[in-house]
Symmetry: C2
Subunit: 430 residues, 2 copies
């Protein structure tokens, strides 16, 4: 079995607010080739620790991908660590130096002594061209392990993987059928309920790993299948792949059926993209009236390229005065029911729809906290309103979590109300 | 030297979209106690891999914190792995079972056979109470290593660390002076320029590690100082700590001076909090008119608790019609200069300020991309307008990056214009 380990180098990854994100996409890129990442290690810019991590990794993985520590400063020690562990010497590579010089010349600068350090690579290693930056990478075969050293800058590492690492993995016949991952995104159900409903759908014998990830935007269910055929070349056939894919699809369908309309999307789809597709397909224009979400719904919808075609405007009315002036919510309603009420949500949705002369008006009003809650109207109480050409709907939510979570959940709740109407589902059934 | 390693357990952390965030706050909590995390390892739910990771960690670290794998399912193997590596047997702890049962009773449920698994701990280990969930943690001293196993759920792990792990570390005299971290947040300068300006300010001999982290919100500079006094008890005195802190403060001041007004905040401060503080102190009310940012500025400002006191409203005008209707931008201006122009930004800021009768109006108009750019008005061209009681300002930005990045940078650019005005700085000087 071909397995991989990723070592991310950098003291800032241990302490200092930066998280190792390279290993996330590198693991995905390897999975596409059927190669499983079994360990990820983060280590600081300390030569002894780096050597320790390399020694351990080379013993337990076939492929070791190192990211970071290839820059020009004295803190960049990946070259030294690999040389030390493998017992090689560092030597100047004229090819590498030439491309560094060429890059600097383009920018009208000359190469400093420090920059030259980047061109010193362990003997016996192969240069990996960096087409997106200055620091060259390198590949070294050591004992039964293949060590690839990539830059820490994400887009440079990603490009070097595709352009230089992958061809070597293919040539060495390490690649197999892709590890298949399918994901279902749900809103409105908690993990425990999902667990109950889908229990037994995917048998342990299927070799599919079932995962659940809860976030303020809902619970995502992932099904991961490793064909496990990357050991013997040729065994991995298109037929096996299609059979496995069909099986996976079957389970995805079955889970969808059990969770009914709570499943709003699959794989890379986001709620805002799905809303955008439906609005575009139906030729409908939307206007928003936000209170507790403070602009978040507008922000999310406008993350989608081309959203200006179906989002007309968004009016964030924090004050009651703004609700009266911009949405025509009556003073009587605000006094009688309070700003956080189904009645006001309804008036906001109708108000924004009529005033902007669009097809649909979506509104949210609620208490994001931490202050502002009362016994009858606690923090997390949120009302969504949806005004359509024929009818105006409202829905009550009670969310938990801090201010940020309540805002995120409220935005998702509002968009889910809209989604349900767009696809012809009842607003409230689960 | 007391060092620590964090092992995060879970196949979903290797592949499946979830990243290991526990190790981030655990490293910070350890740093507060002067304990340096030297390695972080991520491993899947595979008994052999977990044993391998534990064996390696116990050899290179004094303190090993394991998170995850303590749940009730057959995939949760931390208890088994620790028992296997240390040669201990697993036994039922009646104390642990009682608290699990008590928690379930509260929820009106009974304990299943699977849930009982959580009460089996390695012999010789100490139970760590979980006051926020069901899975108990445990602590085991093995050879020269202290192994702490915490749940994977973040808030449970955090609470267990504070309530149970920390007292043991204190009792064992492992704690020392906190590792000091100071951070400066800048906007408007690129890394290279910052590097040039602050070169040599912090000498290598100071033992302070300088880090730079670029994001769409700007470049953050961190200074990390490890007093390194946690080996010998009593050596760490308040006097040393204060001397070190004063030195760090000196460097922070010097860097601030070199970067002038580009430094907008320190440490945990966010731009939106700083804006909120200034507006509150001055008793000013703000209204927003957003175009390309789509509600993001409103969303960011309303992330701050209590922001309803100074954010009156936010009008997101994607369409020209909305700009005319809600902000009174004239058709003539839109036709003559285009929606993305300094003139329209100015009219938007003035319009929202006057129509909402507040003190300040802040506007943004720009091209977020990927479509909509032209040769004279490329993607990333953004204009900010700020209407104040006496004068209206505009500022042009040219941002790079994808739609999300341009939106983030635009929101930060707009808030920075407002910040500069609030603190009495010229809008455009760097």
């Amino acid at each position: 079995m071909i397995t991989a380990e990723i070592i991310a180098v950098g003291s800032e990854l241990l302490l200092g607010g930066q998280t190792d994100t390279n290993s996330v996409f590198l693991a995905e890129l390897l999975a596409e080739q059927g190669i499983e990442v079994r360990f990820k290690t983060v280590v600081g810019d300390e030569i002894d620790d780096m050597c320790g991590a390399l020694t351990v990794a080379s013993k337990r993985a076939t492929i070791v991908l190192v990211t970071g520590g290839l820059g020009p400063t004295v803190d960049d020690l990946t070259r030294e660590a690999v040389a030390k562990v493998t017992g090689k010497s560092l030597g100047l590579r004229s090819h590498a130096l030439r491309s560094i010089k060429a890059r600097f010349q383009l920018a009208g600068r000359t190469v400093s002594e420090n920059q030259r350090r980047q061109a010193f690579l362990p003997s016996g290693s192969y240069l990996l061209r960096n087409s997106a930056g200055t620091a060259p990478g390198f590949f070294l075969q050591w004992k039964r392990c293949q060590i690839f050293c990539l830059p820490g800058v994400s887009h440079e590492a990603r490009r070097m993987f595709t352009e230089s690492v992958l061809p070597i993995l293919i040539k060495k016949e390490y690649v197999g059928l892709p590890i298949e991952i399918r994901t279902l995104h749900t809103f409105g159900l908690i993990e425990g309920v999902i667990d109950e409903r889908i229990k037994g759908v995917v048998p342990a014998s299927s070799g599919i790993r079932l995962g659940m990830l809860a976030s303020p935007l809902g619970v995502s269910i992932s099904l991961t299948m490793n064909h496990g055929l990357n050991v013997v070349k040729g065994k991995a056939s298109k037929k096996d792949e299609n059979k496995n894919k069909a099986l996976l699809e079957l389970y995805v369908d079955e889970i969808s059926r059990k969770l009914v309309s709570s499943v709003y999307g699959f794989d890379d789809q986001t709620m805002e993209e799905i809303i955008g597709e439906h609005l575009t397909a139906k030729g409908l224009i939307l206007a928003l009236a936000e209170s507790c979400t403070g602009g978040l719904i507008g922000h999310r919808l406008t993350q989608v390229p081309g959203s200006s075609a179906y989002v007309d405007r968004d009016v964030v009315c924090y004050s009651n005065q703004a609700k009266r002036e911009l949405l025509g919510v009556s003073e009587r309603l605000l006094v009688k029911h309070g700003a956080v009420s189904a009645q006001v949500a309804k008036a906001m949705a109708k108000g924004i729809r009529e005033r902007s002369a669009v097809d649909l008006g979506l509104s949210v009003t609620g208490i994001a906290g931490p202050g502002g809650g009362t016994e009858t109207k606690p923090v997390g109480l949120v009302y969504v309103g949806l005004a359509t050409p024929k009818k105006t709907f409202t829905k009550e939510f009670r969310f938990h979590g801090d201010r940020n979570m309540v805002k995120l959940r409220s935005s998702q709740g509002a968009l889910d109300v809209l989604r349900r109407w767009l696809v012809g589902l009842p607003i409230s059934e689960k």
